[in-house]
């Protein structure tokens, strides 16, 4: 999985979680919370969907790694690769 593909996976999850938002202009280097209306419950949703859809675990201490699309890609791509994806 490339980092770009990883970002798309995250965006797809966010599309389910925040269906009213326009995701087309989301900046990858800016915190997601600053661009979209996402609260802590929504982030838990992202974590849950990663778990359900992709079998990826994100421990609580690592939640901060999901702050932006870029940081998501940095953090998650290795995890995807480790699962052989």
């Amino acid at each position: 999985m490339t980092k770009d593909e990883c970002k798309q996976v995250v965006l797809d999850i966010i599309a389910d979680i925040a269906p009213d938002e326009d995701l087309s202009s989301v900046k990858p280097d800016v915190r997601l919370r600053d661009q979209l209306e996402l609260d802590s419950m929504d982030f838990l949703d992202i974590v849950m969907e990663l778990r359900k859809q992709h079998g990826i675990e994100v421990p609580e201490a690592d939640y901060i790694q999901l702050a932006s699309l870029d940081s998501c890609a940095e953090y998650l791509t290795p995890k995807f690769e480790a699962l052989g994806k």
Partner: protein, 752 residues
């Protein structure tokens, strides 16, 4: 010191019922050097209140204590402080913060000085030493909650509901701590009365007003003269016509006073009026006083005995005098009135609904009149295709997609109905004080949908609970529907649900009416909702009870009263109303759908699931009584009937018992034949379906009765076709639920 026997009989020996006793906290009303120490009494009656009522003359002269003032424990019945020097004191009647303060300036020097000193300390006396005759009278009744504030029931007192009606919901706007003093020096005869004092009502009543009646009386002149009671009533904003029980007002009472009395104390207690009949009366003749009361001077006879007839017709059935106690001195007349609840009228000003056959009142009503049902087939987890009443309102009208996703269906229905009701009511919601809005939503159950979904979800992950939703808890708490509505509306007042099985729809309105009457909120959004079709468990439960309907044609599946009925069709839906106190609705020119006429809720206490016709009939009768109506006065009875073979028969027994004879103007219908059983929304939706009958004078039928079950035959049953009628002034709405809860709500045509 023993009291005059008449007085005993009249007031003192008699146990004054009521949470706080009638209290004459007349303290230290000084007249000619005499003081009266009022001992307040409340709670446990029977002690010698008035034995302590009067100061000994010799004590007064000697500056001694008021022997009689019995100190009652504060927090018990209230506190009374010993009268010193005949001084009055703050006699706190009960923990109701109705303070009787009497400070009077007698003409005796000793008293004046003492009182003045004391009074200065509390800053309530004219420092010039002007004689200000004060009459302070209090009356309390712990069951009364003044709209100005709260009244706490005294410990040890009993919260006995007073007056007509039921208790809390009858308790309303009462002026507490009324003090009236009438200076008779300024006028002779009853046509010149001057009220010159207000008592402090700790429950938010007025402050003391001090004025010298010799100079200020003109400003305080009360219109109309007439009798004292009228004057007092005027003062506190009631008219004589507001007083009465069942149309017959309070009977006559005697005022006793003397022109030339040197000193005295006299109380004539009029007695309690109940049900329009005057209770015991205890006018005390001066003879008796003379005989028994040492500081009544001289043995003078009372010369003027006036009977004031306050009989009048009442246009408010729910107010009457609890009792009247009169205290008279040569200089003034004080009257204590225990005024009992005036029942605030509650009206419906808006409706928002979603039913399986309509998403607005207009659409719903149209389909009810046209016989158009709204049942369809739906795939239910583990159960395949089942009949269900499904709503098709636009959830995105008032919610974002995310809110619909995060929240529950019940929450979504609540938001839709609340918003629709608010729009319908025409109220300027933006400008409304949001902390004064209450949301009261009845529901049968809540949490089943979410829990079933989550268990199903984790079953796909080998029941590993790390896949359990973090939304589970806020989605399943029982108040979720009301909470989601409060979030959506920005309501910061109370928002919660009321669980009452299938009676919950009525309960929302009943509870809201109570909260409005208590003054908890000023505006209520209330009713009932259901998301029950999104569970499988409720379907399976009814199926296991053999109570789930089946039919080839969904529109014909719900068949109350029909011989071929075979059970319940489960539905979702919601109906929320805006409810307001009448005066508020009128102040903003609201359109009024109807008025809450009365209600009752009771329990069968007999079976887990089977209904009890005796208790149902009791509930209906009690609601009628609460509304002051007879069965023949009801024009539409909306039955609960869910189309179970037995339940319909049981309810018909109950209806027959109440309406079976002598009710030619009573039509009976049912709404579940159209929309199935909307569970928590049922009562609320079914009421809504009938409300337009006030305008179009048409009773919608119950449909799907091809063959009426003879055991469900009732006079007035409207089958299959709507019926035009001559009048619709009242709707009686029944909802009965499992575990034997019964509710009956009566809505009447609003007549100003």
């Amino acid at each position: 010191m023993p009291l005059p026997s008449g007085f005993h009989d009249g007031l003192n020996g008699r146990e004054l019922r009521g949470p706080a006793e009638l209290c004459l906290g007349l303290g230290g009303i000084g007249v000619k050097g005499r003081g009266i120490t009022g001992a307040a009494r409340s709670g446990a009656a029977g002690h010698g209140l008035a034995g302590d009522f009067f100061n000994r003359r010799d004590d007064l002269q000697n500056g001694g204590r008021c022997a009689g003032a019995e100190v009652v424990e504060k927090g018990g019945a209230g506190s009374a402080e010993l009268g010193e020097h005949g001084d009055v004191r703050s006699t706190q009647v009960v923990d109701m913060h109705v303070v009787a303060e009497a400070s009077a300036i007698g003409r005796g020097i000793v008293i004046t000085v003492d009182l003045k000193r004391r009074a200065d300390a509390i800053g309530r006396i004219d420092r010039e030493g002007n004689q200000v005759g004060l009459g302070i009278v209090m009356f309390t009744n712990g069951a009364i909650f003044g709209s100005a504030g709260r009244v706490e029931i005294a410990e040890g007192g009993e919260a006995e509901p007073v007056g007509v009606g039921k208790g809390l919901e009858d308790i309303l706007h009462i002026e507490l701590g009324l003090a009236v003093g009438i200076d008779r020096r300024l006028g002779h005869g009853f046509d010149q009365r001057h009220l010159f004092r207000d008592a402090v009502s700790g429950a938010g009543g007025r402050e003391h007003e001090l004025f010298d009646p010799r100079t200020d009386h003109a400003a305080q002149e009360v219109k109309g003269g007439g009798n004292v009671v009228e004057i007092i009533l005027q003062r506190i904003g009631y008219a004589l016509s507001d007083i009465g029980v069942g149309g017959k007002v309070h009977d006559e009472f005697d005022l006793l006073f003397a022109e030339d009395f040197a000193d005295f104390l006299l109380v004539a207690e009029v007695g309690r009026v109940e049900g329009g009949v005057l209770g015991d009366r205890g006018p005390v003749s001066i003879d008796q006083v003379v005989e028994h009361d040492r500081f009544v001077a001289g043995g003078d006879q009372l010369t003027d005995t006036v009977t004031a007839d306050v009989t009048g017709t009442s246009n408010n059935k729910n107010v009457h005098f609890e009792s009247v106690v009169l205290l008279s001195t040569p200089d003034w007349l004080a009257i204590s009135l225990l005024i009992v609840m005036k029942q605030t009228r509650i009206v419906i000003t808006g409706v928002g609904l979603t039913a399986p056959n309509g998403n607005s009142l207009a659409e719903f009503r149209q389909n009810l009149l046209a016989g158009v049902a709204g049942i369809e087939r739906m795939e239910i987890r583990y159960m395949g295709s089942q009949l269900a009443g499904v709503c098709h309102y636009d959830a995105l009208k008032y919610q974002k997609k995310k809110e619909v996703r995060v929240g529950t269906r019940a929450g979504s229905i609540s938001i839709y109905c609340a918003r629709e009701a608010l729009a319908d009511s025409g109220v300027d919601f933006e400008a409304m004080a949001k902390d004064r809005v209450g949301i009261y939503i009845g529901c049968t159950e809540h949490g089943n949908v979410e829990t079933e979904n989550e268990i199903y979800n984790i079953s796909k992950f080998d029941y590993d609970v790390k896949f359990w939703s973090h939304y589970h808890n806020p989605r399943t708490v029982a108040n979720n529907p009301a909470g989601e509505a409060s979030l959506n509306l920005g309501v910061t007042g109370p928002a919660y649900t009321i669980g009452a099985a299938c009676a919950a729809g009525n309960m929302g309105l009943i509870h809201a009416a109570q909260m409005l009457r208590l003054g908890e909120v000023d505006f209520a959004i209330c009713g009932g909702i259901s998301e029950s079709i999104h569970t499988f468990g409720i379907f399976a439960g009814f199926k296991s009870q053999n109570a789930l309907a089946t039919h080839e044609d969904p529109l014909k599946a719900s068949r109350p009263f029909d011989t071929a009925r075979n059970g319940i069709v489960i539905s979702e839906g919601g109906a929320l109303y805006t409810l307001e106190r009448l005066e508020d609705a009128q102040a903003r020119g609201a359109r009024i759908y109807g008025e809450i006429g009365g209600y009752h809720v009771n329990s069968d206490a007999s079976d887990y699931v089977l209904p009890n016709p005796t208790r149902q009939a009791e509930c209906i009768r009690a609601a009628l009584k609460n509304a002051n109506l007879n069965p023949a006065d009801i024009h539409i009875v909306n039955t609960h009937a869910t189309a179970t073979p037995l339940g319909d028969i049981q309810e018909c027994e109950a209806i027959r018992a109440v309406f079976g004879e002598g009710c030619p103007d009573t039509s009976i219908n049912n709404t579940k034949s159209y929309i199935g059983h909307c569970m928590g929304a049922a009562g609320a939706l079914e009421l809504a379906g009938n409300l337009p009958s006030f305008d179009d004078l048409t009773v919608h039928p119950t449909i799907n009765v091809d063959n009426l079950d003879p055991k469900c035959d009732l006079p007035g049953l409207v089958l299959n076709q709507p019926r035009k009628v001559a009048k619709v002034d009242t709707i009686l709405n029944n909802s009965f639920g499992m575990l034997g809860i019964n509710s009956t709500l009566i809505v009447k045509r609003f007549v100003p």
